[in-house]
Point group: C2
Chain length 660, copies 2
């Protein structure tokens, strides 16, 4: 952190700010583009509004949520809650498939391990941290002094407030904060619809719009055995939204690659992504081949093939962003602008002047190592991947949080561990088959003299080795991993950070920091967009849900593994539903994975919807935001209460949510 | 025509046939790929079935239709009938906007000028024509002798049958036929829904699917003042279709460019289409600028701007085809195969060996002339385009039909003339504005010394010239047109024909001839396809119609010029409609402009639907057929009778159609 960077001329800030796209930004609560919101929508939040929605928002493991009643009801997505619903299910009571509704508070089921967090306070400790290190202190010592100071501050604050304090690095070190959370550890399952209506349209519709997913679940926070009464919670809308209405989203975007250098993006576009797609296709082809071996084999891999196709869909979406000429031209221009500004400043040049070239060189090394990385290792086997994952968790846990891979940070480690505790079913024959395929491919791609191939095969056939490996061994190639770490990962981390610091020095807080799975606010209007040769309507309806159901031939046809089938109760209650009522909607909000379960809030601060996905055009959001076509996709609040009322007869819940 | 060509080895035919895509083909009724249909669908039509559907089919000016009752009811699209409905409308009774329903047969309105044709018989005169010319006759004399023979045959047959006989050239001269039509000249309007439900979704939804257009109208043929009772008519389905069902389409595809050489396609892809898109954008920009001059100006050009956007959409769709690498690779391979076969045959080499090179050279000339062609002439002015159109009709009418441009052939001339008789409204100020813009652009692009610019401006300003021109003058550049004719059009016609004849010599009738606006049959299943990141359902429903209506905010919001609004009667009758009933559907049939109004027929020979469009992915069909995504889009027969019954209370019509 370079404190000098905070004192740059205002002009540079203003110029930089103007280059942001209209609704772009995952803003921290201390730094909202209020003027821009005001200019665009004739209204902007004040401090009371912001405090209210922040204190109503919740962090889930890997997702987001919000308080929606005075008695501590919590709203999130079904797919955020799914793992936890699974956890409290049994073979006899499959709440994921059949749904769950607590008829009384006594029936609400405590979910072991589930912890929710409210962000109670944020304190900027950048200056204090800077003062903790005397000028001229050697970097290694300075690092240690800063770490000691952070721990000291955390401890102080934790003792004072009784809250859970976390150190948050924004702008890659441009700012340091302590975020203080109230942690809720008694969380109970209240309501979940059937998976089939929550995920209507299944894998084919995933990442798309128009959409018809009732992707919500309800939990309740308890304290001392009684429903918790939060000071702040979101009141349920009495009016709902219409096209053009301004919406806000509070939640925890996990990670973006928007600060990648052009060289990194080109590496991704020209090499890494095509390679990943090739790996997907290879894995899919092997599974399709395995599926042909027996009906049971087909049954085992059916869902996995769909999963791979979704991976292909998502990756192709990211790729589309990198192939968008206009967007890439903007990104190139922005990089050019930053490099020119760095070049004009001797101190910045000393720090980051070489960093773009260093990163570019690292991508070249990555390219050389990639073939190995693709072929050495788990070779498509779930079981081996799982085993290596456990090893990885142990390795990562030994490191301080900031040194770990992002998916093993403090915020994510618990989820990662929890996930490992519930492994997907695996089938030994499938593992052997997949691993054999992987070894055969590796032998073909790398040649028989390659170290990995020799070590793995050791004169045996791929099938023999695979069987032995699946039967118990543990695989890895420490040398390759070390090379990757030394020559690629560490270079990119080091110089990525230098560039980010330079960017913060030049542009300051006129922009938003990279996603860090901490609370952010995005905003924008309910809006149509162009796709599929026409304009896409901003709202879908209950009528549209049944149009999909009917258009695919209903439960009788069971097209595409029943992707567009409905729980019988929905078919039975169809006549009681209001076909014209909104079901899902699309809006211009800058979100990404981790925002799942985020409340959608209107100007009044009321709950009007629930983020659960983005459209296919939002996938390039990993690299840049394009307000012309990037849309968040949400469940309309009205759909939730209407379904609770008419399909599930959950009148007490509706009354609690709406106050009626 | 080279009779020798009919005697090629069977092997070549078999190989060529196998390269056709699954459901590809606009087949003539004498030459159906029966084995392929049988192999693909386990059923194929027999002669009685074919005769029945042929005799039930009708040719409309510029479109298609069919007999659907024993009392001569005729079904076609609303958009095929629209010009005629307009013709019998008045300011007081706008049947296009408000719809029309004859309560009794007496109320059915005679449509002046509307003639429908039934194809009663087809006779192959290829051999007879060949015999009419002695071997060794000089080509010019031979041409004359053939023409005389054709006229003689037509006269003979016309006298014998009392039918209207037309000479049809298939496979660019590979075959000659006489098609004999029964002409129906007393045609009356029976029913038309409101334009807004016939064209629901308007210009935005045009060329797309999922779709919700009730795009039908009903006429009745009379003879001697009484309803005509056709021997053959299509019985209305009692069961309807489901996904996977085989459908047939009979109709009159107008024109395809599938036989273009690779050089022509590359010229289109790299030059002609980008140029056309640029012209569209220029025209749109000028209109947008004009629209800013006053609210009245905006009103005038609003629809025209939408029209241009649709032109851009269609052209971009064709372009997408030419940019499809897999498809272009297939086209290149097919051309390579044909050229290799031509090279192995001395006679074919003599006739067509140079033709690919000649066409390629002509496209180079076209490129040189194109800048002039774009800038010289009507310069965006509707009025001048109209004036020049009248001149063109006179020029073309003087030529024998086969020498005319396709849109002025015998089949199309009447429509072309009829259309000119009903000019769109034009506004002098707009004309002057658009023409001024065109002249300014031309002066900029061509430079002040260019002959056209000098001649047009002659020292005056573009505005002065435009005003004078719109006030009365007539513009053209005979020299440019002559150059284009001599060096481009005639070369492409001549050598295109030579290649086509060589193709027929090599592959014979194992493929289908280019579209010629004569009766053809296409076939294929009701089927989903991949688009917009997911799978698109094969059927839409009445519920889906209202989902669009609601999703866009209904008649109150009137989004996008009311594209998704509904006639009030539809809103009022909503409760009486079956939401789950199919409305439109998508199927794998190879169709193109001219097929509008074609009946969709099932295996039983019953009417199950009505072609009205293709999806956006069907636009490359101009160049090739891609069964993976190319879909015809049809009104479901059940939607027509359900709407007639429940919305319009037209119970007598429903009874006549369904026999109930």
């Amino acid at each position: 952190m370079n404190p000098r960077s905070l004192a740059l001329p205002l002009l540079a800030l203003a110029l930089a700010g103007s280059s942001l796209r209209a609704e772009e930004g995952m803003w921290t609560f201390d730094n909202l583009p209020t003027k821009k919101i005001q200019a665009g929508y004739g209204w902007a939040p004040d401090q009371a509004w912001l405090d209210h929605v922040r204190l109503s928002s919740l962090r889930f493991p890997g997702g987001s949520g919000s308080f929606v009643s005075k008695d501590g009801l919590v709203l999130t997505n079904h797919h955020v809650g799914r793992g936890w619903i699974q956890r409290v299910s049994s073979k006899e009571a499959d709440y994921v498939q059949n749904g769950f509704a607590a008829a009384t508070r006594e029936q609400e089921i405590k979910v072991p391990g589930l912890e929710l967090m409210t962000l109670m306070a944020m304190e900027n400790i950048t200056d204090r941290l800077a003062k903790a290190v005397k000028a001229g202190t050697p970097e290694k010592l300075a690092l240690k002094q800063r770490e000691t100071e952070i721990e000291k501050i955390k401890k102080e604050m934790q003792e004072k407030s009784g809250l859970t304090c976390e150190h948050v690095t924004l702008y890659q070190g441009g700012e340091h904060w302590i975020y203080s959370y109230k942690k809720h550890t008694d969380v109970r399952l209240v309501f979940a619809p059937e998976q089939q209506i929550a995920f209507f349209g299944g894998d084919p519709d995933n990442f798309t719009f128009p959409r018809h997913n009732l992707d919500f679940s309800l939990f309740r926070v308890y304290e001392n055995g009684k429903p918790y009464q939060p000071k702040d919670f979101l009141h349920w809308t009495q009016t709902g939204l219409k096209a053009g209405d301004l919406t806000f989203v509070t939640g925890h975007p996990g990670r973006t690659n928007r600060q990648d250098t052009v060289a990194q993006m080109e590496f991704s576009a020209d090499f890494a992504i095509p390679m990943r797609l090739k790996a997907y296709e290879r894995r899919k082809a092997a599974m399709v081949e395995y599926a042909k071996t027996s009906p049971e084999a087909a049954r085992q891999v059916n869902t996995q093939i769909f999963g791979i196709e979704n991976g292909i869909k998502a990756t192709t979406g990211y790729w589309a962003g990198l192939k968008d000429k206009d967007a890439m031209a903007r990104i190139r221009a922005a990089e050019k602008d930053l490099r020119a500004k760095v070049a004009k400043d001797a101190k910045l040049t000393a720090e980051a002047g070489q960093s773009w070239a260093k990163i570019e060189a690292a991508t070249k090394v990555a390219k050389d190592l990639a073939k190995d990385a693709l072929n050495v290792g788990t070779a498509n086997s779930t079981l081996l991947g799982y085993a290596l994952g456990l090893v990885r968790i142990a390795d990562e846990e030994a490191l301080p949080s900031e040194k770990r891979l992002p998916e093993y940070s403090d915020a994510n480690l618990k989820t990662a561990k929890a996930r490992m505790g519930v492994p997907a079913p695996f089938y030994k024959e499938q593992e052997v088959f997949m691993f054999t395929k992987g070894l055969e491919e590796a032998a073909k791609e790398l040649g028989p003299q390659h170290k990995f191939v020799k070590a793995m095969l050791g004169g045996k056939s791929p099938a023999e080795v695979a069987k032995a490996a699946v039967d118990g061994s543990k695989l890895n190639d420490p040398e390759l991993r070390k090379k990757q770490e030394d020559q690629v990962a560490s270079v990119i981390t080091e110089h990525g950070t230098r560039i980010a610091k330079a960017r913060f020095a030049v542009y300051g807080k006129n922009t938003y920091p990279d996603a860090t799975f901490t609370l952010r606010l995005s905003y924008g209007a309910v809006a149509e967009y162009k796709a599929n040769g026409t304009l896409i309507q901003p709202f879908t309806t209950f009528g549209g849900l049944f149009d999909r159901y009917d258009g695919w031939g209903g439960n009788a046809a069971k097209a595409h593994n029943g992707a567009w089938t409905l729980p019988q109760r929905w078919v039975d209650k169809r006549g009681a539903l209001d076909a014209s009522l909104p079901f899902n909607f699309a809006h211009k909000v800058d979100i990404i994975g981790g925002n799942s379960g985020s409340p959608v809030i209107d100007k009044k601060g009321e709950l009007v919807g629930l983020i659960f996905d983005g459209n296919i055009e939002s996938l390039p959001g990993n690299y840049f935001y394009d307000e012309a076509v990037n849309r968040g996709v949400s469940v309309d609040a009205r759909a939730i209460t209407h379904a609770l009322d008419k399909v599930y007869g959950a009148t007490a819940l509706v009354a609690e949510l709406t106050g009626k």
